[in-house]
Amino acid sequence: MTYSLKLLKYFLLFTQNLLGVINSPYRAFRRISQTEELGQLIFIFLLVAFYFAFGTSIRLGVGNPYLLSGEFNKLFSFAILTFLLFSTLIYTLGTIFGGKGRIKSVLLGWSYTLLPTLVWFFITSLIYILFPPPRTLSFPGKALSLVFIAFSLGMLFWKVVLYYLTLRFTLKLDLLRILGVSTVLAPVIAIYGIIMYRLGIYRIPFI
């Protein structure tokens, strides 16, 4: 298969899974767990790169291209490192808790859990332009805060559902074992978030 045909195949798979993750995540993750087409990751990370280019230009402005590209490279590199770190951690913990699966499936499954993260970061950047913080205690301020918190919770719940499905299908774990993995993983995420904040990389970790 030629390079462009392969790329088209990955794009179609990505689109199919993207729609699946939104509309019927259960079926989509069952399908994702059975494929080994890591090429789909290209499109997920293109979206991540696009977000960081967008987010960085909003934060720093487009006046200083050197500062902009430096910040973009830093954020994008850490996003990939974070992705690899947590995929490996989930695979290792899942295996310790009795899960059976392949690292390739975990990488693919975990990559699709980045979608709620991406949507949250994109929308938050847009709201930052349209309604710059801080929010006030006026009625519109309270109303927007309520809507923004509801949106953030919605993305968090969606992320939790996709995380559960990743462990359920790629490592064939049951709910009890998933809770076991999560108990170990939650403090790691908290510590990682604090480290990233202290290093000045992410205010909210891109997980």
Partner: protein
């Protein structure tokens, strides 16, 4: 029979379903089976509803603290 298209599709579907063993959570299994279908198809309906209810409850509990949290999160991207 193995040449039958419907038979092959049925086998394919059964294999797909059997990837994971059915989930059992002891006495909570009936509740689990009642709740999970809402997350399997078009989960955004239940996610939107539950997030709005949760944020309203949080606002009633914490009041202006939620407004401060929204401001902090808005700086978080």
């Amino acid at each position: 029979m193995k040449e039958d298209l419907y038979y092959r599709e049925l086998v394919k579907k059964m294999t797909e379903i059997a990837i994971v063993t059915p989930q059992s959570v002891g006495p909570f299994t009936p509740l689990y089976k009642r709740v999970t279908p809402y997350f399997k198809e078009k989960p955004w309906k239940v996610l939107a509803f539950s997030s709005f209810i949760t944020s309203t409850i949080l606002y009633l509990l914490f009041g202006s603290l939620l407004v401060r949290l929204a401001s902090i999160l808005q700086f978080g991207f």
